[in-house]
Symmetry: C2
Subunit: 169 residues, 2 copies
DNA sequence: GCAAATTATTTTAAGCTTATAATAAAATCT
DNA sequence: AGATTTTATTATAAGCTTAAAATAATTTGC
């Protein structure tokens, strides 16, 4: 049901197509376009309306879900960024009073990072508006579209993780 | 058929939900996870196997599709990055001999950028392997999944563009 | 208990990215 | 034609991002 011969044009027809993965490539480029487009708009609005960068907002979002705090390594895994990246990001957020860092009581290598009350309050204000922006950006999709897309992206995530880690969880 | 009352928990139930956009947020986070995951793996493989960065590869991919060359502004629009970003990227690719820059014959402000023969040859080697990686990463999706995802992402792209630019093309 | 391996974080160097302002050429509008 | 606006690019400053190497604390395996 697959592998249908599709004549391309006079030049390429004879030589090409050992096996053709152009469709997957187009799918990837479209996925990337969507996320670049949305991410760029969110970045712009965060800066214009709240003077905050997307990485700072993302970090605070992680902490808001973890009232007891998290270590840098936890943050690094969750946010899928390098450890070294977080060092600087955390430094700046401590300097601006949004987060606290204290040495872990059980592991003197590790630090527990958590939102300050001011940081949490500011984050929640921003998060509410942020949620509205996202709904607006996805506004052209019906409920069914959204559910279908969610399911297909779950499948994509599993597929990519499998290829990256050999992991199936 | 929508707007079903979902009791959350004792604390939030009474006060919350002016209108709830958590599903869109989860959809966005999943989309972002997929693209971050795939992009990170591609970046890693490009570096490990070919010693090339993703932005340099992306720029060369644009030029490969435009044999007559492109201006910096064209590249900027296509790649969805800032103009200033391209200045440095182009400088480095000229220095490494992958691309050529020459002043446009019709507009002395503009420069035409194009792949050198060596740049094109190297790009095509990399591109072939790259296409295989993408196919591998999306390998868990059936043909139908891929077609469905493609269609839903097209819709997402239109929806986001609409929200960003008010544009419907 | 002690050496070896692992884990948590920081440092460094290079490159990427953006926004903003500056410069310069071209197009537009009287 | 001359002034104004737009367009193309570069420069600058700040921040983000990574990989790789260094440091330090903990855990593991005798």
């Amino acid at each position: 049901m697959n592998n249908i011969m599709i004549p391309l044009d006079a030049e390429t027809n004879a030589v090409e197509m050992p096996d053709d993965h152009r469709d997957e490539l187009r799918l990837w480029l479209r996925l990337l376009t969507c996320s670049t487009l949305i991410e760029g708009e969110i970045r712009r609005r965060l800066r214009d309306r709240f003077g905050v960068t997307l990485p700072r907002f993302d970090l605070m979002a992680q902490l808001d879900k973890a009232p007891d705090g998290m270590t840098l390594s936890d943050l690094s895994k969750r946010m899928m960024v390098s450890n070294g990246n977080l060092t600087g990001l955390v430094d700046r957020l401590v300097a601006s009073g949004h987060i606290d860092r204290r040495v872990s009581e059980t592991d003197r290598r590790a630090q527990m990072i958590s939102l300050t009350p001011a940081g949490q309050s500011e984050f929640r204000t921003i998060a509410t508006e942020h949620e509205g922006w996202i709904a607006e950006l996805f506004g052209g999709l019906s409920q069914k579209d959204q559910a279908d897309l969610m399911r297909l992206l779950a499948k994509t995530k599993r597929s990519a993780r499998q290829a990256v880690h050999g992991d199936v969880e």
